[in-house]
Every structure is written in structure tokens, then in C-alpha cells.
């Protein structure tokens, strides 16, 4: 639901019935100050840029389809019917990094794959987030001693959330995704643009 295009003429605000769309919006905690002023047929919402943008961003994270190893199979399991990652608006795995804003580094990053992973990350448009999944991507994991494995993907790209496990269960993935949503929710973009001075 987009807060900016709500047809307000159909909404009747009564204090005793907190079930209107506006109240629901208010309940999300994303738009802290919702003032409805009925002026002819319009509605004015007051919020901050941060909250509106963050709300939109965290609700439609599109991951890039880049499975590296074992964890990618659990990524598929997370996306499929049983665990259903579509609940978080991220069922659309994009084949092109240009259209994605989230990258799961799911699996062992080998020395040979490392520049490609970095290139993928650089190809993604801002804002972008990275979740490092599994022991291999976090630290090298069981392959830490190997000659051909990078000891953690955070050596080459910045990571927002680490999910431990070898491979992590789909529940762990979902927990990691929720952590990322929390992180996005609390980020201030307005400050970066000098908007909320």
C-alpha cells in the first residue's frame, strides 16, 4: 500500500474505531506523525523522508540470483512454498544485478570467484545491501585452511548482516532478513542529503 495515493474520501475518522487505513499506517511505526486534514477531497500526510523511503525500501528488497555453493540450495528452499520469502516482498530474484538491491553471498567465495563477486556488488545500484550467509562466506568456515578459498567475503565487500550456519536453516535466513529490515528502518537518508536540518 502506498501512503501517498490513498483515496481519503472514503475514510471516515472516528476515534473509537482504530481500524482505518490511516490507523494501520500509524501502527506500522514507520510514519510516526500522520495528520489527516480533510481539505475538499485530498489528504495530507506528514512524515519524514527517512521514514517514507525506508518503509518503501525494506518492503521490496529484490535479491540478485547468485548462488555460490551449498547455501544457495537453502536459499532456494527459503524462497519456495514452505518458507515463502514472498512474505517480505522479496520473492523476485533478479537475474541482473542492475535490478537488484540485495545480494546474498550464499556459499564459499573462492579466490577465483572473489573478483566476480566484487564486480557483481559494484554493478548493483545504490542503495544496496549484502547478507553474508554461512560459515564459508563469513570466515572461510571449514575451508579456512584451503589454498583457494577467501577467508570471509567481508575482505572484499562490506557486509550488513552475517548469518551463521553450515548451511543456515531457512528460519535462520528469515531471521537474518528481519535483522536487515530493522537495520534499514533505522537508517537516516535525509541526513545524508541535508534534508532534515
Amino acid at each position: 500500500m502506498d501512503p501517498l495515493t490513498i483515496d481519503t474520501t472514503k475514510i471516515k475518522i472516528t476515534k473509537k474505531k482504530p481500524v482505518t487505513a490511516l490507523d494501520k499506517l500509524n501502527d506500522t511505526g514507520l510514519i510516526s506523525t500522520v495528520l489527516a486534514a480533510r481539505e475538499r477531497e485530498g489528504l495530507i500526510l506528514f512524515s519524514t523522508i527517512d521514514q517514507i523511503f525506508n518503509w518503501a525500501r525494506l518492503s521490496s528488497l529484490w535479491p540478485v540470483t547468485s548462488g555460490l555453493a551449498c547455501c544457495a540450495i537453502e536459499m532456494m528452499a527459503t524462497a519456495m512454498a514452505h518458507h515463502d520469502v514472498a512474505r517480505f516482498g522479496m520473492e523476485i530474484f533478479r537475474a541482473s544485478p542492475r535490478q537488484a538491491d540485495l545480494m546474498f553471498v550464499a556459499g564459499t567465495v573462492t579466490k577465483r570467484m572473489a573478483p566476480r563477486v566484487k564486480q557483481l556488488y559494484e554493478m548493483m545500484a545504490e542503495p544496496k545491501w549484502v547478507i553474508s550467509v554461512g560459515s564459508c562466506a563469513n570466515t572461510g568456515g571449514p575451508y579456512h585452511d584451503s589454498y583457494s578459498v577467501l577467508k570471509g567475503v567481508d575482505l572484499i565487500i562490506p557486509v550488513d548482516v552475517y548469518i551463521p550456519g553450515c548451511p543456515p536453516r531457512p528460519e535462520a535466513w528469515i531471521y537474518g532478513i528481519i535483522q536487515l529490515r530493522e537495520k534499514i528502518k533505522n537508517k537516516g537518508y535525509g541526513a545524508k542529503w541535508g534534508l532534515n536540518k
Binding site: 547468485s66 519456495m80 577465483r112 566476480r116 584451503s146 583457494s148
Partner: protein, 382 residues
């Protein structure tokens, strides 16, 4: 008309390469003239790590070779070590092993069918496949607590006995699965589009297939009646009644049908295993090699020592994994660590045939043929 040759790169990050594989295609218009395969993007140095670990410590690494079917990997390695060390395994352990192997074969084929259909553009099968896979994974979880990387089959037996309530749940799964396979067949096998994309695509003669080192279900789609479970029987397979599923058409559709048939055979085997499951201990109680490490005994491998020294020697032992012939070449020099481990992975050798198979086809056909070979990149690159 002569046209300019075009070089097209597919991968290493491409949705239909099942991981990190790269095709370098030399195209003449839409026709593939030459297909070069570049691999190694998931080369993790497993064989070298094997030389640094003790025999038992290497078992978890085998899980991560072919991560869709980890039980056969466990078993192939453990079988090699047991042959090397001359370990007797109790009958109940062997039955539990066969149970896990066949259950994992079904899981593997479900994933294979799902990703094949997804690559061809149909997303129903992957949803269905993963739905049933989830049920099987719950069984695995009951066994050993893990969904994909089990570390369950150990030298001398299995880690733990079957938990309570496992067999009834397995029976439920078998009963459910029988109907599901009928569903799959109704959805896929008669689908006109599917048949058009699979029939007479990726044809390679049986002689060529053997020469290129193809094994397993991919080879049995070429009319070669070859199943290691039959030819070099291991474990309790000689006591079980099953047949090797063979199709003669040599094309992608035949290779797909072999998988469907194999799932039925695996269910048939599972039913027999459940009926014949003997009583007893799941781990060998024989003392072997040097004494176990000092320290508090744990529930893990209670009887079989964690550290043992097989006599010097070498062994090549192979099994029929869901993807083909999976073998481990283990060399012992009489110490607690293997001197050399060489993995004969089915995916690596099956992949050899792809360039020959897709010559003269189009890119969509490459994807169809590649999907029926059923490759996992962890297994290819090791």
C-alpha cells in the same frame, strides 16, 4: 551464407548454470558451433584438506561436495575407508545406510526436476519438488539434526540409531510420494511444450557417452544397462529387489524419464528396507587400530574409535550415487591421516560430454541438455 562468428559468454553467475559454471559459446547465428566450459569457480581444495585431516574429520567435507545428495557422498568415502581398514559393519547400520541413500536419491531427483523445469520456464515443478523435499528433509533432521550436511554415516556404522517415530513418518512420506510422482508425470511428461524441448535434443550415442565418461542415470538414458548397485553390489543391495532403470532414446527426454523411474524404484527399495530392518547396534563394536583419544567419551561414535590407522595400502571404491559413479581413491601410509584422497565425482565426468552434445544446437537446447545431465558445481570443482 557465411556469417560472422560470435562469442557469447554464459556465467559464471547465470541462473541456469546451477551454480558457478561458465560456458564460452562460439555461435554461428543462433547455432552453437563450439562450447568451451570454464570451471573452477568453486574449487575449494577438498582433496588437499583431506590430507590434513584424520579419517573421521574428512567425513563432513564429503557432505559439501555434492550438497544436494550428501548421504551418498558420506557413504562412498566411508566405504572406501572401511575397505581399507577392513571394518565389519553391523547389518542394521547397513540397512539404515541404504535407507538414507535411497531417500537422498529421491531428494536429489526432486531438485533436479525442479531446476530443470525452472530453466525451461516452468516454475510449478520447483515449488512442488521443494515441497516434497521439505518432507524428506524433516526425516533427515530427525536422523541427525541437519537438513543438508549430515555427517551421519561414519566408519563402523552410522552416528545414531533411528529415532523414535521415524519409521511411521517415513511410511507416510512413501505413501505421499507415490501419489506425487503421478502428479509430476501428469504435469510434465505429457506436456507438449516440454516434449518438444526435450525430445531429440542433446542426442549422443551410447558409445560416445561411455567414451566421454558419462555414468549413472545420464548414461542409463542411452540404453546402457549399467548400475553399480547391480554390477558390483555393495551394502545390502544384493538382498533387495529392484531393477536398473534404462531408456533407449539417448536424448534429454530419456534422461529425464530415467529419473522419474528411479524415484519409483527408490520408493520400492525403501519399502523393502522398512520391512526388513533388523534389530541390533547401529555402530560396529569392534576395537580397531590404535586406542581412541583420551578424554570423556561422547555419544558420537561410542564404540568405534575416532582416531584409527588403517594399514598402508590403497583402494578405489565406488558407489552408484544419484548423479552417477561416485568413487573415492584413498591411499593410506599407516598414519592417522590419509596420504592422498582422490574424488571421482560423477558431475565432473558427465559434464565432459556437454560440448559434444550441444554442437549444432541452440542456446535453449543447451540449457535443456545441461539440466538433464544434473550437475552440481560443488561436485565438479571439489
Amino acid at each position: 551464407m557465411r556469417t560472422e562468428e560470435l562469442l557469447i559468454n554464459m556465467g559464471p553467475v547465470h541462473p541456469s548454470t546451477h551454480g558457478v559454471l561458465r560456458f564460452k559459446l562460439t555461435m554461428d547465428g543462433e547455432i552453437i558451433r563450439k562450447c568451451d566450459i570454464v570451471m573452477g569457480y568453486l574449487h575449494r581444495g577438498t582433496e588437499k584438506l583431506g590430507e590434513m585431516k584424520t579419517y573421521l574429520q574428512f567425513v563432513p567435507y564429503t557432505d559439501r561436495l555434492d550438497y544436494i545428495s550428501a548421504f551418498p557422498n558420506n557413504y562412498a568415502y566411508v566405504k572406501a575407508v572401511e575397505e581399507l581398514a577392513g571394518v565389519e559393519v553391523p547389518l542394521r547400520a547397513e540397512y539404515i545406510r541404504v535407507l538414507t541413500l535411497e531417500l537422498n536419491r529421491i531428494v536429489n531427483h526432486l531438485v533436479m526436476l525442479g531446476s530443470l523445469l525452472l530453466d525451461l520456464g516452468g516454475s510449478t515443478m520447483i515449488m512442488w519438488g521443494f515441497r516434497e523435499r521439505e518432507n524428506a528433509l524433516q526425516l533427515f533432521e530427525m536422523l541427525c539434526g541437519a537438513r543438508m550436511t549430515f555427517n551421519y554415516i561414519r566408519p563402523g556404522g552410522v552416528r545414531e540409531d533411528l529415532p523414535e517415530g521415524f519409521i511411521p513418518k517415513l511410511n507416510e512420506f512413501i505413501k505421499d510420494m507415490e501419489n506425487r510422482i503421478v502428479d509430476y508425470e501428469e504435469l510434465i511428461s505429457g506436456n507438449e511444450i516440454f516434449i518438444m524441448r526435450m525430445k531429440n535434443i542433446g542426442v549422443i550415442s551410447a558409445k560416445d557417452a561411455i567414451n566421454y565418461g558419462m555414468t549413472g542415470p545420464s548414461l542409463r538414458g542411452h540404453g546402457v544397462n549399467y548400475d553399480i548397485r547391480k554390477i558390483e553390489p555393495y551394502s545390502v543391495y544384493p538382498d533387495l529387489d529392484f531393477r536398473a532403470c534404462v531408456r533407449n532414446e539417448c536424448d534429454s527426454f530419456a534422461r529425464y524419464m530415467v529419473r522419474i523411474d528411479e524415484m519409483r524404484e527408490s520408493l520400492h527399495i525403501l519399502r523393502q528396507v522398512v520391512d526388513a530392518m533388523p534389530e541390533g547396534k547401529p555402530t560396529s563394536q569392534a576395537k580397531y587400530g590404535i586406542a581412541p583419544m583420551t578424554g570423556a567419551p561422547t555419544a558420537v561414535s561410542t564404540y568405534f574409535p575416532r582416531i584409527f590407522t588403517p594399514p598402508p595400502g590403497e583402494v578405489y571404491s565406488r558407489i552408484e550415487a544419484p548423479k552417477g559413479e561416485l568413487g573415492f581413491y584413498v591411499v593410506s601410509d599407516g598414519t592417522i591421516k590419509p596420504y592422498r584422497i582422490k574424488i571421482r565425482s560423477p558431475s565432473f565426468c558427465n559434464l565432459t560430454a556437454i560440448p559434444k552434445m550441444v554442437e549444432g544446437l541452440m542456446i535453449p537446447d543447451l540449457i535443456a541438455a545441461f539440466g538433464t545431465i544434473d550437475v552440481v558445481l560443488g561436485d565438479v570443482d571439489r
